[in-house]
Symmetry: C2
Subunit: 138 residues, 2 copies
């Protein structure tokens, strides 16, 4: 993918020119449930992770904690099947719209002992300056 293009060449074109280098090799990836629109998690992809996602049609990331390529679900079988991919105006942010296999994407567990559906399970309350669990995601 060509990098270092001018703004308009990124915004109105149909040729992908994802700007990995602009963000130090990693672009943020919003993972959204295709059917509901719920935002499930935010991950990061380098070019290898993105290309693997295209190839296997399962959400693949660069794990910034484990520093390795990571196809979500590769150990559990709970893959995130790619239904659609979107890129933003300046091609430095990505959305994976997915169908969720298994209980949830989050490594944390709810009170029933199941993986939480989404990593975004708490609201930030402005009034109290506190977090609060979203109902049903405790």
């Amino acid at each position: 993918m060509i990098q270092g293009s001018s703004k308009n060449e990124l915004e109105e074109v149909l040729i992908p020119q994802l700007q990995f280098s602009k963000r130090g090799g990693l672009l943020p990836v919003i993972v959204q449930e295709f059917d509901s629109g719920q935002v499930l998690m935010l991950g990061y992809a380098n070019e290898e992770a993105f290309q693997k996602t295209l190839k296997v049609r399962k959400a693949t990331f660069w794990s910034t904690s484990r520093k390795k390529l990571w196809t979500k679900g590769e150990t559990s079988g709970n893959y995130l099947l790619i239904k659609n991919i979107m890129v933003d105006c300046d091609q430095d942010a990505i959305i994976y719209q997915v169908e969720l296999m298994g209980d949830g994407v989050c490594h944390t567990f709810n009170q029933k002992g199941k993986n939480r559906k989404a990593c975004f399970y708490r609201n930030y309350t402005i009034e109290k300056n506190e977090l609060e669990f979203i109902e049903g995601m405790e």
Copy 2:
């Protein structure tokens, strides 16, 4: 905000400990329309931008291109009013759920000459390895 806490202290607590330092001072912010669930854009917030968002209840970012604090709409009047804020398990990603003033959040224009509603106006087609405009957002 305290930083450098252990994992479980971040995941199950109600005390905000946003991990700005973990990500070089900037956390990714997913901007989602509150009513529809549509993802409008991805921005970044440093602690100052986040605190200003809490104070003025309008989505505020650190502009990585202009390198300044940026309350979206401060010149156009087309603010993003904060309806809800969410944080993820390890407190290093944020969602601003907003009500959109004006036509759209994107600096690019559609064929009617109006700001596009969302920065995510193109799909990445796996089959063709091309971008395509989403219907109605050309």
